[in-house]
């Protein structure tokens, strides 16, 4: 049996699968992260426990931040996201399903808080929405970081985070 063709085939498959794994890895890991932060369902904020050595949701978490995460899902249309202001650094960032950080706004640009409407790229923008952000994917993660390096600030951030909104526009629109 001529084994040369099998070796060449194995090498060709190795090259193809190498690039396939590299391309797929961020999406697979984001998918895991999306599932982890959508314990109570999509389109709602989850205020994360204080980062400790037991925190295992996301790699390399910073213990200096209070995190709120929302896995957004645009399959029912646009999603409204608001971030309540905080007395120190805070930011609202959006991540596509391939892990790209495609949007970020912080307290320097939004001193009194942020309100955005996330729509799927290429879809019509809702009328009256003040700031529309186009998401390159139908699902992703919104993350609020509030600087809270000690327990007192973390507890205060937990109170502030209750005012944050992550909800589909359809669920906020009263039925006619």
């Amino acid at each position: 049996m001529n084994i040369g063709k099998y070796i060449w085939a194995a090498l060709a498959i190795a090259v193809i699968s190498h690039f396939a794994f590299i391309h797929a890895a961020p999406r697979v890991m984001m998918n895991v992260a999306i599932k982890r932060v959508s314990g109570a369902g999509a389109n709602q904020w989850q205020f994360a426990d204080r980062v400790t050595p037991l925190s295992r949701q996301i790699v390399r978490p910073s213990p200096d931040f209070a995190y709120s995460a929302c896995s957004y899902d645009l399959s029912d249309g646009p999603v409204v996201i608001t971030a309540t202001p905080w007395n120190a650094y805070w930011s609202l960032s959006l991540y596509a399903d391939n892990s790209d950080n495609f949007f970020v706004i912080d307290d320097r640009e939004a001193r009194y808080g942020a309100e955005i409407t996330v729509v799927r790229a290429g879809r019509p923008h809702p009328e009256g929405a003040s700031m529309v952000v186009e998401s390159p994917s139908g699902r992703g993660i919104a993350l609020i970081r509030r600087l809270a390096p000690d327990l007192g600030n973390y507890n205060a951030a937990a109170q502030v985070a209750r005012e944050d909104v992550c909800a589909s526009v359809a669920s906020l629109t009263p039925a006619s």
């Binding site: 085939a9 190498h18 050595p53 925190s55 996301i58 390399r60 200096d64 790209d100 950080n101 993660i141």
Partner: protein, 193 residues
């Protein structure tokens, strides 16, 4: 015929296994060496960016998922001491630095699994809000001793690493060997003084 079918199956399996192993290797080994070296630290301005190449994306997904783009924050990693050795719990280090041209910064210690070390010291991070402006120095060791600022390496074992986060860097922020914190190994257990 059966031998031929088995040979093709073996070729496919070997190819997929080789592809998976080389991809994992690129993400693991590449994680330690990707990006730009700035003194003892490494950084990659493409982190989190929509312009990141597939390898950067894959490496960041493994070691820093949900990182911010460099417009908002710059991340620097350090996993070797000033003698080029991997960082170890059995050694004592000194990290010295000075004010950075940024709104806020922190240095956090991570075990080699990319999570905080499994200890109850509450000393995983030092940050700008607790350190006065000017020059500063922090000890990295399993015990605090007489240090004012301390990063606990207890239970971090071998191959732990540091991440420097620089938030809202100013326009004239120029990271280089002088401006970024510098790590010096003081001693290691069993090492002749």
């Amino acid at each position: 015929m059966l031998r031929r079918v088995l040979a093709w199956m073996a070729a496919v399996l070997a190819g997929v296994a080789l592809g998976a192993a080389s991809a994992w290797g690129a993400m693991s080994i590449g994680g330690a060496s990707f990006g730009q070296e700035v003194g003892q630290w490494t950084t990659n301005r493409a982190t989190g960016s929509t312009a990141a190449d597939p390898y950067t994306r894959a490496i960041v997904a493994r070691v820093g998922l949900l990182a911010l783009s460099s417009r908002e924050a710059i991340y620097f990693n350090l996993d070797r001491d000033d003698r080029g050795e991997p960082l170890s719990e059995s050694c004592i280090y000194e990290l010295t630095g000075r004010e950075l041209d940024a709104r806020w910064w922190s240095v956090t210690l991570y075990a080699d699994d990319n999570y905080l070390a499994q200890n109850s010291d509450h000393a995983a991070s030092i940050d700008a809000s607790h350190i006065p402006s000017g020059r500063w120095s922090a000890r990295i060791a399993p015990v605090r001793g007489d240090a004012t600022y301390w990063l606990s390496s207890r239970e971090a074992r071998r191959n732990f690493s540091l991440t420097l986060r620089v938030y809202n860097p100013q326009r004239d922020f120029r990271p280089n060997e002088e401006t970024l914190p510098q790590l010096t190994r003081i001693s290691c257990a069993g090492e002749a003084a």
